[in-house]
Amino acid sequence: MRSKTRSDHSIAQVAGNGLLDRRALLGRGVMLAGAMGAGAVGSVTGAAAEPLADGPWSLEVGDAIPPYQTPSPFEKTVVRTVDNPKNEPRNSRARTPHHLLKGIITPNGLHFTICHGGVPDIDPAQHKLVIHGMVKQPLVFTLDALERYPMVSRIGFVECGGNSAPLFSNEPIQANVQALHGLASCSEWTGVLLSTLLEEAGVDPKAKWLIAEGADSPHLSRSVPLAKAMDDAMVAMYQNGERIQPGQGYPMRLWLPGYEGNMNVKFLRRIQVTDQPALTYYEARTYSQILPNGKAYRFYFLQEVKSFISSPSPGLKLREPGIYEISGVAYAGTGRIAKVMVSADGGKSWAEAALQEPRLPKAFTRFRMPWRWDGGPAVLQSRAWDEGGNMQPTREQFVALRGQTTKPPSVLGFPSQHFNAITSWAVDGKGEVRHVYA
């Protein structure tokens, strides 16, 4: 085995600057693993491993098993970044550390959270969901009642409409993938289809919208087209198998697969069926996007096809030339990811990445690309296509339509929303990674 894979020439280069055939990961993973372990390819030193010895943990009895397991203390840096730790009277956000995660499921404690009035402490026994307005019979549901309804489970992402907003900056803001893209996460959500509850209340045929409202202190409200509500909207009560976390809307949230995070009203307590949208604060002001011509978009809703590389990325240094796996997530509010292309030379040449199964609609899809870094400069990019043929735009194409700032904003700022263009990471000769526009 080793003799066959000793040379990295056994893995075909398929695009510029060292991108390798993705099939090395899919059908012939052993071959790549062999290549990485062979020293000649994976390491500049080629030094032999040290003799083995038992660690102290192998020579003593371990700790008692806790009722609720938390990560190893060695993983203490794998946490969200919080931008309002003292709970000052303003919005609070926690961002997902994509650079430290693999796979497609975001652990519950690392799911991004935005709250506009702190995290409410809701007693599930007291919580109620009311459906009223243009219905035959206004109804109130308790959590206990909803537990008896037919439930569905579905894996899907939630992304803040303002995720990646720092990329509206006219100059690339030096920050890591958590700061730039950390307001998107993916979970398995379980709950009752909203259509089931709406049908029970009896929707007036003239109705066109619903207005969803939370039980948090701002009583956050958003208008949702009835078509979306009847299509795949869910009153979600479980996240990755356990009750939804407080930051995700405990004890229940509206989940609108593929739609702007803010519309996925948390702490859901009321749905009013109407014939018109409410023009609530968040849809009339905050989530209306200013365009270069002075107009603004309204009701953007859709999180369009997008991808970013999570590894390598800023803060993850490449220690030596050799073979690495470029990896990231791709997702689209329109459906499945069909294809992800990766470039290591700033978009001059591209190669198709391997897509890890399962490849689910409106969910994160993990992509992987084997790469031989020769120690020289590289610019890494990923570009995704959805199954409808929609293509992630370049940043240049994107800002031509959507605009950019005239001076760099705060990395915590939100110049606009719904940024879905390509992200570029530059690797320098020392293996340091930084954010660039390319």
Partner: protein
């Protein structure tokens, strides 16, 4: 229609035909509630003025309430503080900032709805409806969108013409 829905729907239909009664597909555990019993939560205001409550307010009263309950975050005279500016600001918003009531908000009803549901930040739902009308009048008058002595009530508020109202483009009309 999904296969699951079709199967359940067909079963319900068969049962409904046999029993002479209509059934939704769930266990029907929603409890009926009367409009008066849900009135405490019935706070959505629509742009045409639907659901605006009785009462009224004027800018002078609103200015006093603002100084007392709002200026700590929004600054004296609404010039901004830990929370955003509500009065003044640039004539046009851009990606550099500056979305204001005067240059961006499309509907005056949004002011009443949002103040009543979310403000003051630390004491939401503590304002009376006339206080919310008065604050709305104050912010509209200070932004020169109505006169200083104009009364704001359920009839006058939806008629306030916001300067930026026609500058919005529906992003994906086929999704509505």
């Amino acid at each position: 229609m999904s296969m699951r829905k079709f199967a359940i729907g067909a079963a319900a239909l068969a049962f409904a035909c046999g029993a002479g009664m209509a059934l939704a597909e769930g266990p029907n555990l929603g409890k009926p509630i009367t409009p008066s019993d849900l009135s405490a939560w019935d706070i959505n205001i629509l742009p045409d003025g639907t659901n605006l409550p009785p009462g009224s307010g004027k800018a002078a009263d609103g200015a006093r309430i603002f100084a007392d309950k709002c200026a700590a975050c929004h600054g004296d005279n609404g010039k901004g503080g830990i929370a955003g500016e509500l009065i003044g600001g640039p004539p046009k918003a851009s990606l550099d900032g500056g979305k204001t009531i005067a240059n961006f908000w499309p509907a005056a009803t949004t002011l009443f709805d949002y103040i009543r549901r979310a403000m003051p930040y630390t004491q939401p739902r503590s304002l009376s409806d006339p206080e919310v009308y008065a604050l709305t009048a104050y912010l509209l008058a200070a932004n020169k969108l109505i006169g200083e002595n104009d009364e704001i009530n359920k009839t006058t508020l939806p008629k306030v013409q916001m300067p930026n109202r026609d500058n919005f483009i529906i992003r994906f009309p086929d999704r509505i």
